[in-house]
């Protein structure tokens, strides 16, 4: 179906259904219940799920297939964002030119960075990409202020040229839109105590994510994808087999850079502002965490990892000591204080601590990430299957990596 093998098509279908039904799935608790704070079904967070999903899918094409670990992919996300906001300032608030330009500019930038960084492999490659990203961050902060807005960043302003749009009415800064459909527009559907929010921006981003996911499946299952896995497996043999590994790695690098640019453009489409902090090295590190947490070299892993981390970031960080005190009020005073004091370290601002612990547990006990965890649960202790999954290969006799 659509040129996909049966099992891949099934996976794509599951992801499509889950994505489109996300406003329901992520809002399982009624608004009135005390658990409502665990609901993830609000537009801002749902948009982040799919956008960072795209970022991680692209990153996985480079890291998962070729094994080249880039520590600077946030630079491409940031460059994509700047390109998008400039299209909105100069051309139109319609998101289409912004998104297309973000992919093109990020692609060109990654071509340059990749051309230089790929002269080295292993840790030196990682350091080179990190250096490029930090340079981009520093430049955006200082020298390039006329283009990047420096510390304050960029937003659409009333006096921007926007040559394709009509003059804004009533002195309101125009909103990002898709042919008139406002990205911020939401419909809320109240069913009993539940409130489900359907946001235009989310659905635009979700459709783009599904396209990006579909293309990544095609790449994974194509001869080109096989060559990228050959790079990871044995680059020397590849060269002595008549294949030039350099352009293969560069192509993978540029493709993943374009995915990052697409994610950056979509971030701007959803929330029309950019600042240089988007390119900071922690943002590059985050996508590495997402990919490893979800499952390196698997199709769905990066999306899961991105969703997991963004959920933690947004939900866990909202829980503060007051909330905890409410939960443990039933305990005797002293005990409640002790429990709150300990748990308080892991929530709110301390959510990174929880993330770090989970990351350590996954890397040590589930090197294949969440995907491997899911597989073990479904298949019991099928050691051979998990071994094959870890290596990212797809023997037709067993199920392919999901």
């Amino acid at each position: 179906m659509f040129g996909l093998k049966g099992s891949d098509f099934a996976l794509f279908l599951v992801v499509a259904v889950l994505t489109l039904a996300a406003p329901f799935i992520l809002n399982p608790f009624p608004e009135t219940s005390s658990l409502a704070q665990f609901n993830g079904g609000y537009p801002d967070l749902m948009q982040r799920f799919v956008i960072f999903g795209i970022f991680a899918i692209g990153f996985n094409i480079l890291f998962g297939l070729t094994g080249y670990l880039s520590f600077g992919h946030a630079a491409f996300l940031g460059v994509g964002s700047y390109a998008a906001i400039w299209m909105m300032k100069l051309l139109t608030m319609n998101v289409i030119p912004a998104i297309i330009m973000s992919v093109i500019i990020a692609g060109l930038f990654s071509l340059v960075v990749g051309w230089i960084s790929l002269r080295r492999s292993g840790i030196y490659f990682s350091i080179l990409t990190l250096a490029f990203a930090q340079m981009s961050y520093a430049l955006a902060y200082s020298v390039l202020t006329p283009i990047t807005g420096g510390e304050t960043g960029l937003q659409p302003k009333l006096n921007d040229p926007r040559i394709l749009d009509a003059a804004p009415e009533g002195g309101r800064i125009p909103q990002a839109n898709l042919f008139g459909l406002d990205m911020g527009e939401s419909r809320v559907w109240n069913v009993g105590d539940w409130a489900f929010t359907f946001n235009a921006g989310y659905y635009v981003a979700a459709v783009v994510m599904l396209v990006a996911f579909y293309l990544s499946i095609r790449i994974f299952r194509s001869p080109f994808g096989m060559m990228l896995r050959a790079v990871k497996s044995n680059q020397q043999r590849m060269n002595y087999t008549g294949l030039n590994s350099k352009p293969y790695t560069l192509a993978a690098f540029v493709i993943s850079g374009m995915y990052a640019g697409l994610a950056g453009g979509l971030l701007v489409a959803m929330d029309t502002q950019v600042g240089p902090e988007r390119m900071f090295w922690t943002a590059s590190g985050e996508v590495v965490l997402m990919t490893i947490l979800g499952g390196v070299g698997t199709l769905i892993g990066p999306v899961l990892g991105a969703g997991f981390i963004k959920y933690m970031e947004n939900i866990l960080s909202k829980i503060n000591t007051t909330v905890l005190e409410g939960w443990f009020a039933f305990l005797p005073d002293g005990a409640a204080d002790a429990v709150v004091a300990v748990l308080g370290l892991f929530v709110g601002k301390g959510w990174h601590l929880t993330l770090g612990l989970i990351f350590m547990i996954v890397v040590i006990f589930l090197p294949g990430g969440l995907v491997e965890g899911g597989r073990r649960m479904f298949r019991g202790r099928d050691r051979t299957a998990t071994r094959k999954v870890k290596s990212g290969q797809t023997p037709p006799t067993s199920k392919p990596a999901e």
Partner: protein, 252 residues
């Protein structure tokens, strides 16, 4: 007619003269063995054929084209495939994929972003790879991981990878090193069979005289970086200089 012509090749590593004015001529369709004691420069010479090393002086001509100063993948595309001393395979890919990759390299050249078609649907390449695996006797294991194979099977897989490219020249670096007697004999049989069905020119570096005398049409003896004799196996057996340099202790 000589398909591989090596003239006056010298290579120095610091104080060591690894190759000293080596001349070698490999005739098309023959099996040419290079023998010599440890450190004689056999592997260095082979590395000069595949772009891993460039000699200090001399020329290496293959099929009328110089092999010096060009990249390993260009040399392979010109028709030279190499089997390494320790098998170089794609360990975490299946056997079928291991053979499909060189088949793609033969069909599509050294680089092609062939990202839209599904690998399963590339029938011509897949069937070609399966046929080669069949020929080499690994077809039943085609979906297993290359790393899970025995050393002998890994070596055969590497040969299958090279054969799938229909090379004009196959370089084998100690194809039976570390193998049991049974595996060695199986490899000899395989190489003989391939010689009959395909007639590929082969250059074999080998320690094991049993292998050399079973396979080779010509033998070059390398000692201390110099070719001291080049002749048929029978003549080499009787050559006094060779005996002194090498065979004296190891002849059967």
């Amino acid at each position: 007619m000589a398909i591989l012509q090596v003239r006056n090749v010298s290579k120095r590593f610091g104080g060591l003269q690894a190759l000293n004015d080596v001349n070698l001529s490999v005739k098309e369709g023959t099996v040419h063995a290079i023998i010599g004691p440890n450190g004689a420069g056999k592997s260095t010479l082979l590395n000069c054929f595949v772009g891993r090393l460039d000699p200090d002086t001399g020329t290496v001509m293959f099929d009328g084209k110089s092999l010096l100063g060009i990249k390993p993948h260009e040399i392979n595309q010109a028709g030279v495939s190499r089997v390494f001393q320790t098998p170089e395979i794609f360990g975490d890919l299946s056997l079928l994929e291991n053979v499909m990759i060189p088949s793609f390299a033969r069909r599509d050249g050294d680089f092609k972003v062939n990202w839209w078609p599904r690998t399963d649907n590339e029938r011509d390449v897949k069937e070609h790879a399966e046929a080669v695996l069949q020929e080499i006797g690994l077809y039943e294991k085609r979906h297993e991981l290359a790393d899970s194979m025995s050393r002998g099977d890994k070596r055969r897989l590497e040969m299958a990878m090279c054969l799938s490219q229909d090379p004009k020249l196959l370089l084998l670096d100690e194809p039976t090193a570390g193998m049991s007697r049974a595996d060695t004999n199986a490899t000899i049989d395989l190489l003989k069979r391939l010689g009959e069905t395909r007639g590929i020119t082969k250059v074999v570096i080998e320690h094991d005289m049993h292998v050399v005398f079973s396979l080779a049409d010509y033998v070059s003896v390398l000692a201390q970086g110099t070719v001291i004799a080049e002749n048929t196996p029978e003549a080499i057996k009787g050559d006094q200089r060779v005996k002194e340099a090498y065979l004296g202790t190891e002849a059967e």
